[in-house]
């Protein structure tokens, strides 16, 4: 590989990051920034779900783990006066610990049953939040969650979280760090082990891989980031109700992942962004807007079996055919 082509990829990524950093300069409306922020949350959720899915386990409890992170962080700040910067990683850690607790019994069952177990797990988490009113205020909602403490470096920096712009940069930073971490897992030996577990767990076990331990590892890592996303969400929206974390939301995250395409790492990102951003362009349709979502889903599954990441491969033969027609017409 020549030096020139080796630089293309990192240059491309840098340009992308620069573009993302400059976005708030072009977008003035608070609503559009809100959509981007929610898209950022979706990206973290979908990518972390994908990491769990690389071991073949489809988790329907992801919104529940997001809830654990959200409520943990919110309550630590409100009741114990902790700073957001301490509470939000703890939110992720608590989510990961719960995953560890249920992980060992859950990962031992067949994949289909794992999906069902996580379905009910997610439902139970939501119900526990509703029931434990003394702690979570139940369906009335946990209100007045404080924003993150301002980042102050005397003389240099004073970033207050009083406008959407600050939140945008925060979620951008969180997303980039999370994606970097998850990407490193995926492209390293750990990712190979996950893949081996999905496709041949007998053989993986016989070359010394403890399938159970690694499945739990994948689950804990994925749920950690779900918790982080939840913590951010809590301090951004500032109100938490159990209905934001139901099974339907968990199913949507799975839809984002599958539509984007599970095989490649960026598929999760692509799916999350497409399905949260594209329908927004059709807001004029008002109550007909969900049809756009339906349309994207149907087009994808009927035309692109591998998800959106399969688009280049699907389009190649068409381009080749066009080229042949051009040549024969010349």
């Amino acid at each position: 590989m020549s030096k020139g082509s080796q630089l293309v990829k990192p240059a491309g990524y840098t340009a992308l990051v620069v573009f993302l950093v400059l976005v708030p300069l072009f977008i003035k409306g608070g609503y559009f920034l809100h959509i981007l922020i929610m898209a950022g949350i979706a990206v973290i959720l979908t990518s972390s779900l994908r990491t769990i899915a690389t071991t073949g386990q489809i988790s329907l409890a992801h919104s529940g783990f997001m809830a654990i992170g959200a409520y943990t962080s919110a309550l630590l700040v409100r009741k114990l006066g902790l700073s957001f910067w301490a509470s939000f990683p703890i939110g992720g850690i608590v989510a990961a610990l719960v995953a560890l607790l249920v992980g060992y019994p859950f990962v031992r069952v067949k994949r289909v049953y794992f999906a069902m177990l996580t379905l009910f797990m997610g439902a139970i988490i939501r119900l526990i939040i509703m029931e434990w009113r003394g702690l979570t205020r139940g369906t009335s909602g946990l209100l007045n969650i404080p924003p993150p403490d301002s980042i102050i470096i005397p003389g240099l920096v004073n970033i207050a979280f009083d406008s959407k712009v600050s939140y945008y940069y925060l979620i951008l930073a969180l997303a980039l760090i999370s994606l970097l971490f998850l990407y490193r897992i995926d492209s390293s030996r750990v990712g190979r082990i996950f893949l081996a577990i999905e496709q041949g767990d007998y053989v993986a076990e016989s070359v010394g891989i403890s399938v159970t331990n690694f499945k739990v590892l994948a689950l804990c890592v994925g749920c950690f980031f779900a918790g982080i996303a939840g913590s951010f969400y809590a301090h951004y929206i500032k109100v938490l109700t159990p209905d934001s974390f139901g099974v339907l939301q968990a199913i949507y995250i799975i839809v984002y992942m599958v539509v984007g395409g599970r095989k490649k790492f960026y598929g999760a990102i692509l799916g999350a962004l497409t399905l949260t951003l594209l329908p927004e362009f059709f807001r004029v349709l008002k109550e007909y807007q969900p049809f756009v979502f339906v349309g994207i889903l149907l087009v994808t599954i009927f035309l692109l079996p591998d998800g959106l990441v399969g688009l280049p491969d699907a389009v190649k033969p068409c381009i080749q055919r066009l080229r042949k027609v051009k040549i024969s017409n010349a």
């Binding site: 971490f181 082990i193 893949l195 081996a196 041949g200 053989v203 076990e205 070359v207």
Partner: protein, 256 residues
């Protein structure tokens, strides 16, 4: 190296393996044969921890491994191949090998995530070692082929290559020659001998009698979960019980 005492496995009322005593000595190629349904694969599953024994002990290198998990047994150096072969069908040969190089050398989680230089060195070592094993088995030419596109004989060899990447002290081969033609069989026999010369003890289950007689130093014969004979190939060939066991079923003892 491997000692089995009184191994028994019951499924409900059925004895799949009944009070089996057996040893495998270091450095030998031992054969485990018997008519179909005699319990050979069950014995493999018991030795490698896929199923727990009902009774009895399995002792490997002086430590009791009965009932331990497959991956910890593999860590100790006891590894098997499978009858149904394909590991990661959608990936190439090399990717399969890279995925199976887990035990040697081991890396930590954080080491891998942070892509430290020690991790990168280990990954390079894995890459090189993978190529060495593939060359050893004559598979280096198909390095970049998708496993599902490989001819059957190559897939079986890949199964052995995957097992070899764990640096096993004792290798259990489950019908390594199944479905191979004569040329592939003779090639594989050479490889198995080479594996033994390189320091790995081998225990194999096979139906190809000619190959077994020619290859193995010692043979154990099983029928209905019990050992019915044990000894050198010439002794086994002449053993009345063995001949009866095979002729009594639809299996022919003279060849496959």
């Amino acid at each position: 190296m491997l000692e089995i005492r009184g191994l028994t496995k019951q499924f409900g009322g059925l004895f799949a393996v009944n009070n089996l005593d057996m040893i495998v000595n270091q450095g030998e190629i031992a054969g485990l044969i018997g008519p179909n349904g005699a319990g050979k694969t069950t014995i493999f599953n018991l030795i490698t921890g896929f199923i727990p024994p009902t009774k009895g002990q399995i002792i490997f290198k002086h430590s009791d491994i009965s009932g331990k998990s497959t991956h910890s047994i593999a860590e100790k150096g006891l590894v098997r191949t499978f009858q149904q072969n394909v590991f990661l069908p959608d990936l190439t040969v090399q990717q399969n090998m890279l995925a199976s190089c887990y035990l040697h050398p081991k890396t930590g989680f954080w080491e891998a995530i942070l892509n430290t230089s020690s991790y990168r060195k280990k990954e390079q070592y894995v890459c090189d070692r993978t190529m060495d094993i593939l060359k050893f088995l004559g598979l280096d030419s198909v390095n970049d082929e998708l496993v599902q596109n490989l001819p059957h004989g190559y897939q079986r060899l890949l199964g052995i290559a995957i097992a070899l990447s764990t640096n096993p002290k004792l290798l259990l081969l489950d019908e390594p020659l199944a479905g191979m033609n004569a040329a592939e069989v003779s090639e594989s026999l050479t490889f198995i001998n080479r594996i033994r010369s390189a320091g790995t003890t081998v225990l194999l289950v096979e139906h190809n009698m000619r190959a077994v007689m020619g290859l193995c130093d010692r043979i154990v014969v099983i029928n209905f979960g019990r050992k019915i004979a044990e000894g050198l190939p010439e002794e086994i060939k002449r053993n009345k019980n063995v001949i009866e066991a095979y002729l009594g079923t639809s299996e022919n003892a003279a060849g496959t």
